[in-house]
């Protein structure tokens, strides 16, 4: 016989649902945004933009490519997490979601900003955002791993 859900359980379901929705949205947005960046980069190739393709643009080209690849990759990670959340045997702390979302912003955006203001073979200031972003992603993935390895119902 089914009855009204326990308030704590309802809260957890709501949190769970919100986390799923967050990663779905962040993942879709990242995929859209960085796929669009890919189209822009291809166009820069097609039209031989010297700012992008010249030797002086080598660092920029490399960093933009990294931004594109990491943005797409992290977008897929977010979508994967949204899909995998119901399967996790352990509880995923809210900090894991926050770290992953912040990392999804910092890593590709850091590469992009670093490329935008590249000076010769040196990236711009934005590249400094990549290491903390990577650390946040790593923390998030560690927490996901911990939840995945937890005993069922833990």
């Amino acid at each position: 016989m089914s009855g009204p859900a326990h308030p704590q359980l309802a809260d957890r379901a709501d949190t769970f649902r919100r986390a799923q929705l967050l990663h779905l949205r962040v993942g879709a947005a990242a995929l859209f945004g960085f796929a669009a960046l890919g189209v822009v980069l291809e166009s820069l190739h097609a039209f031989k933009a010297p700012w992008y393709l010249g030797v002086a643009g080598e660092t920029r080209r490399f960093l933009f490519t990294l931004a594109h690849a990491h943005g797409i990759g992290l977008g897929l990670v977010n979508l994967g997490l949204a899909a995998a959340l119901p399967l996790l045997p352990g509880r995923l702390p809210a900090a894991a979601s926050a770290c992953l979302v912040a990392g999804t912003l910092l890593v590709p955006a850091g590469f992009f900003a670093g490329g935008l203001y590249a000076h010769g073979s040196d990236p711009g200031l934005g590249a400094l955002l990549v290491p903390p972003g990577a650390l946040l992603v790593l923390i998030a993935l560690g927490l996901v791993l911990r939840a995945a390895l937890a005993r069922d119902g833990g």
């Binding site: 967050l22 097609a46 039209f47 031989k48 933009a49 010297p50 393709l53 010249g54 030797v55 002086a56 643009g57 702390p93 809210a94 900090a95 979601s97 926050a98 770290c99 979302v101 912040a102 912003l105 910092l106 955006a109 850091g110 900003a113 935008l116 203001y117 000076h119 010769g120 040196d122 711009g124 200031l125 934005g126 400094l128 955002l129 903390p132 972003g133 946040l136 923390i139």
Partner: protein, 608 residues
């Protein structure tokens, strides 16, 4: 703007962390992110500014960029032609002129002190970060901002006093010897010949850079030189590429050209030009020329694909009197002997186009530099195209000979005597302290070479044979008419004759050819005390290839006393050990008799 974007991203990430978790750990992470990023940003900016200031200082004394002639630089070419860029990047053309910075410099600049006999000053060399400096006695610290050469030696340039003048540094670093030598001692130049220090802006800017403009003022004393690019880059051979770059931003145009295989009219491809016009692209620098009036102010108007005769006419010995530079040439009695053999064949390296245009093969209209050379598909050393480093270069036209080379050469197949280059392009030009191949493709005839005062191809191998022996062989095997020879030419081995009686250029070439010829050792020992340092250098280099002399101590720019001592030591070694092979008759008296006949009324300088 960069800082704003940076902190927007940091702030955004911090908000995401705090709002997402609202836990102490998330807040701590966000705080650490903001504080750490801010500190790192400050440190980064400070380092960045210092590096930019250092880079600007390093560039300061170099020629300013040409911005108004349609050049885009090799950087732009690389984007679409990475393979060609890479092959050019490996070449010594690229590094012909470079900023003298950091690891690009092979010379030590590690505190060594050199003394110049020319100006009596001492030069203490040092590095300061990436830049090179010379502390010059009586002058002070002077920056050494630029260098020429990267293949055999490095020459350096000092920042001058007028405009962006660059003045010849009085020493050159030799790679093979890993040592400094006085600048004049890398040239074949007589001790009494006055060779003034060069000004880069007046001479080298013409060919050792791309799109060089000397930029002298009206009095021709103060230069503000500009270059499209240091070194000999893409646009030196393909022409200014701004229009090409602009046109090819259109991807449909590019695809259309790729699929049709048609030439792109917006750029010059020497391989697609008619052979004579293609050769002119190389000839703009690899030829003896007199630049047009006004070039010291405005640079050259010649561009690849143009007729060289219009923009930078080549000077051939036969028509020097008709040149627009005839007045200058007439005033310089050494002009012709410094550049040509008596019959008009060019005798200095780097002027191969002059040799080519005098060749019968060229007159046929099918031969160009790219018939044998390639910038993009070759070893950087001689830039011979794949398959053209042997007889293949000649047999691509002379196919009948190629079917049985030995029947034509009368030498064993595969031997040096059966190699087309050795007989038809012998090493009778001089430059960079070595003999190099003539690019005037000729048929060996003793009479021609005797008339021109030049070693002949056969006797550069058969040094132990007389010219008469060679003439007999040529007559017997190829029907060549017999030459008129004097008694010494009939009776003395050509190698001995070239060294004993030859003028400086001949002695240098013969000394180079004598490497590995044990029978030539006594004659090479004689040259250890030659007046010309370049000859001494070549003689000892060849002597050290002969058994018993590899460790002979000798400094070709040392004092006379030290050279005499080394010569005595070499003579003692000659006396102690029998030479390998058949000896060439040698006596001091006979050598001195022949040496007294040398034609050296004028001091010589070969203008390589």
């Amino acid at each position: 703007m960069e800082l704003v974007l940076f902190f927007v991203l940091v702030g955004g990430a911090a908000v995401l962390l705090v709002r997402g978790a609202r836990a102490a750990v998330a807040i701590a992470l966000a705080a650490a992110l903001v504080a750490g990023s801010a500190a790192a940003a400050v440190a980064w900016r400070a380092r960045d500014e210092a590096r930019r200031a250092a880079a600007a200082a390093a560039r300061a004394p170099l020629p300013a960029p040409v911005a108004d002639r349609g050049y885009v630089s090799s950087d732009a070419c690389r984007a679409c032609h990475p393979g060609e860029y890479a092959s050019w990047h490996r070449s010594f053309h690229r590094t012909m002129t470079q900023p003298a910075l950091g690891a690009a410099v092979r010379a030590p600049f590690a505190g060594e002190t050199l003394r110049s006999e020319d100006d009596g000053r001492t030069y203490r060399l040092r590095r300061e970060g990436d830049t090179l400096w010379a502390d010059i006695s009586g002058v002070g610290a002077r920056r050494v901002p630029m260098m020429t050469g990267s293949h055999h030696m490095e020459a350096f340039w000092l920042a001058g006093a007028r405009g962006n003048q660059l003045v010849e540094f009085p020493f050159t670093w030799l790679f093979d010897d890993a040592r400094w030598v006085p600048r004049r001692d890398v040239f074949l130049v007589g001790t009494e010949y006055s060779k003034q220090p060069s000004t880069w802006n007046r001479i080298c800017v013409e060919c050792h850079v791309t799109g060089g403009v000397p930029g002298f003022d009206a009095t021709l004393t103060v230069p503000q030189s500009r270059v499209a690019e240091l070194g000999i880059a893409c646009e030196a051979c393909h022409g200014p590429a701004a229009a090409h770059v602009a046109a090819n931003r259109d991807p449909f145009r590019r695809w259309s050209l790729h699929t049709s295989g048609a030439a792109d009219p917006t750029i010059v491809n020497p391989a697609r030009l008619p052979p004579p016009r293609s050769a002119e692209v190389c000839g703009q620098c690899h030829g003896i020329a007199c630049p047009p009036d006004g070039w010291l102010q405005h640079g050259l108007g010649f561009r690849p694909g143009d007729a060289l005769a219009d923009g930078k006419p080549i000077l051939r010995l036969a028509s020097l009197g008709a040149s627009h530079c005839r007045a200058q040439i007439a005033a310089d009695t050494s002009f012709a002997p410094s550049r040509y053999w008596k019959d008009g064949m060019v005798r200095v390296s780097g002027r191969e186009y002059n040799g080519l245009v005098e060749s019968r093969c060229f007159a046929g209209g099918a031969l160009a530099c790219v018939s044998c050379h390639s910038m993009h598909d070759s070893d950087p050393n001689w830039q011979l195209a794949r398959g053209k480093d042997g007889d293949g270069a000649c047999t691509q036209c002379h196919a009948t000979i190629g079917k049985d080379v030995a029947a034509h050469t009368h030498h064993a197949p595969g031997s040096t005597g059966s190699t087309c280059y050795n007989c038809h392009m012998p090493e009778t030009t001089w430059g960079l302290l070595r003999a190099m191949r003539s690019h005037q493709i000729t048929i060996p005839r003793v009479q021609d070479d005797v008339n021109a005062g030049r070693p002949n191809a056969c006797n550069l191998c058969h040094l132990d044979r007389t010219l008469a022996w060679t003439a007999d062989a040529l007559a017997r095997l190829w029907g060549t008419p017999a030459p008129a020879l004097d008694a010494d030419q009939r009776g003395t081995a050509a190698g001995a004759l070239y060294i004993a009686r030859g003028e400086a250029g001949v002695r240098a070439i013969a000394a180079d050819a004598a490497a590995g010829h044990a029978a030539m050792a006594p004659f090479l020992v004689e040259l250890l005390d030659d007046d010309y340092s370049a000859i001494r250098y070549t003689a000892v280099r060849s002597l050290r290839t002969i058994r018993g002399f590899a460790d002979l101590p000798y400094d070709y720019v040392g004092t006379e006393e030290s050279r005499w001592a080394a010569q005595r030591e070499a003579r003692a070694r000659l006396a102690r050990q029998p030479g390998d092979g058949v000896p060439i008759p040698y006596s001091r008296g006979e050598f001195e008799r022949l040496a007294a006949q040398r034609d050296e009324t004028d001091q010589m300088f070969l203008a390589e």
